[in-house]
């Protein structure tokens, strides 16, 4: 592919810790991707609007507050409302293993928990974006 992959890195919800998101953003940058970083405390509406305007290939959300079961599926729902079906949606952060099947069922395509090497995330994005 001769164009850079564009990824929206975002922090939904109310927690104020974005170190993990920034580490991921930097790793994706170093892998040659264009990372649009939106900063803290984003609503699902803000995330979806930004993703559409920025025409991203992937939405990567980091969440530590425990609100993942509410906020992450909401993003997928809003994308459906907007008829967007070609953006890969992934999540990461402090997410208990037992919640992951539910999130996947709701359309979060992969979930990366603490300790995942950044290379795993990078490879996953490269192999799974929907537009070539």
């Amino acid at each position: 592919m001769d164009r850079p992959i564009r990824v929206l890195v975002s922090k939904p919800g109310l927690d104020g810790h974005d170190r993990g998101a920034k580490v991921i953003a930097r790793a994706l940058r170093d892998a040659g991707m264009e990372v649009i970083y939106t900063g803290l405390r984003q609503t699902p509406e803000q995330i979806v609007n930004a993703a559409i305007q920025e025409d991203v290939d992937c939405i990567a959300m980091s969440i530590l507050s425990g609100a993942h079961n509410t906020l992450l599926p909401k993003v997928v729902e809003l994308l459906k409302v907007e008829n967007v079906d070609d953006i890969l949606v992934i999540g990461g952060g402090v997410i208990p293993d037992e919640d992951i099947p539910f999130l996947k069922e709701k359309g979060i395509e992969e979930v990366f928990t603490p300790g995942t090497p950044t290379s795993v995330t990078i490879d996953y994005i490269k192999e799974n974006i929907k537009r070539k």
Partner: protein, 311 residues
């Protein structure tokens, strides 16, 4: 329905996709822009430049909000640097414009420079046209914001807003060529800090040498507190009125169009020459020889051009 029609209907996804296609040198986007070019030229294009950390994004956020209160539609193009090593980039200007994300009358797009120098991306001019066709009243272009040579914005905007902050240097900075020459309106941001008055005075002194019939106004602002924003916006609008009344708008746009045509010719020629010589691995071979001092770069360039002529 094709992308051009969807753009005319005001569909945001069409705007977004067309900008991506322009960034990726997709010919379909160029064809669409050719057909719709007549519909451009209505938006007031405002360039925002200045050193990193001067508060360009915060200022843009406040100016856009002021225009939204007047019911205007606004587009924002925010340019950030691309890594020369990996081609990746962090585009982080949306962080200061979060509330605008959900405003249906605002379209914000981040762009990496992708190797282009001068403070913009090569596709910025195309993105401006796309937003113009989409129907916004104002387009803000926020440049990368480094160094003293980010002057491309002056060739892409109707009004260039130069954002300065106190404490950046002595008065010799103000008389150097380059960046300080392109401001049509000056904002001294973070005006609650020490030295703001002095910075404003130094800019005014530099402007005393200004020979044009437009004397750039210098406005002190505190963007985070929304202070001085309405006054600044007024100056920006006055500049546009001045351009229109004096016939300078037409002149400026003619000059900018000429630069754009020449740039496009350069890009096309470059592409043609490199396509042909890279097929023949010519440039790579010559580069090796030049690096080993078997050959000189001047003759190498001539060889590539000769090869082009003979084909």
């Amino acid at each position: 329905m094709d992308l051009g029609e969807r753009l005319l209907k005001g569909e945001k996804r069409a705007v977004a996709r067309l900008i991506s296609m322009a960034e990726n040198h997709d010919n379909e986007a160029i064809e669409i822009l050719k057909n719709l070019y007549k519909k451009t030229g209505n938006a007031h294009v405002i360039g925002i430049t200045g050193p990193p950390g001067a508060g360009k994004s915060t200022l843009t956020d406040k100016l856009v909000k002021a225009l939204r209160r007047e019911g205007k539609k606004v587009g924002v193009i925010a340019v950030d640097p691309t890594s020369p090593f990996t081609g990746g980039s962090i585009l982080g200007d949306r962080v200061r414009m979060n509330e605008l994300s959900i405003d249906p009358g605002v379209f914000i797009r981040s762009m990496g420079t992708r190797g282009h120098l001068g403070g913009l991306s090569k596709a910025t001019a195309a993105a401006v046209k796309i937003l113009d066709i989409y129907g916004v009243d104002y387009i803000f272009i926020e440049t990368v914001g480094v160094g003293q040579s980010e002057v491309d914005i002056a060739k892409n905007a109707d009004t260039t807003l130069m954002v300065m902050v106190p404490g950046l240097g002595d008065d010799i900075q103000a008389i150097k060529a380059g960046i300080m020459e392109i401001g049509d309106v000056f904002a001294v941001n973070k005006a609650d800090r020490d030295g703001a008055k002095r910075t404003a005075t130094e800019i005014e002194m530099m402007l005393d040498f200004n020979k044009s019939d437009w004397r750039p106004p210098v406005q002190k602002v505190i963007a985070v507190n929304n202070q001085g924003i309405d006054e600044l916006l007024e100056h920006i609008k006055e500049h546009m009125s001045h351009l229109k009344e004096t016939g300078k708008l037409q002149k400026k746009r003619t000059e900018n169009s000429k630069i754009e045509i020449i740039d496009l010719i350069q890009q096309k020629l470059m592409q043609m020459i490199l396509d042909k010589s890279s097929k023949e691995e010519m440039v790579n071979q010559l580069a090796e020889e030049v690096a080993l001092r078997k050959y000189d770069p001047y003759s190498a360039a001539e060889t590539v051009l000769e090869n082009m002529k003979n084909s």
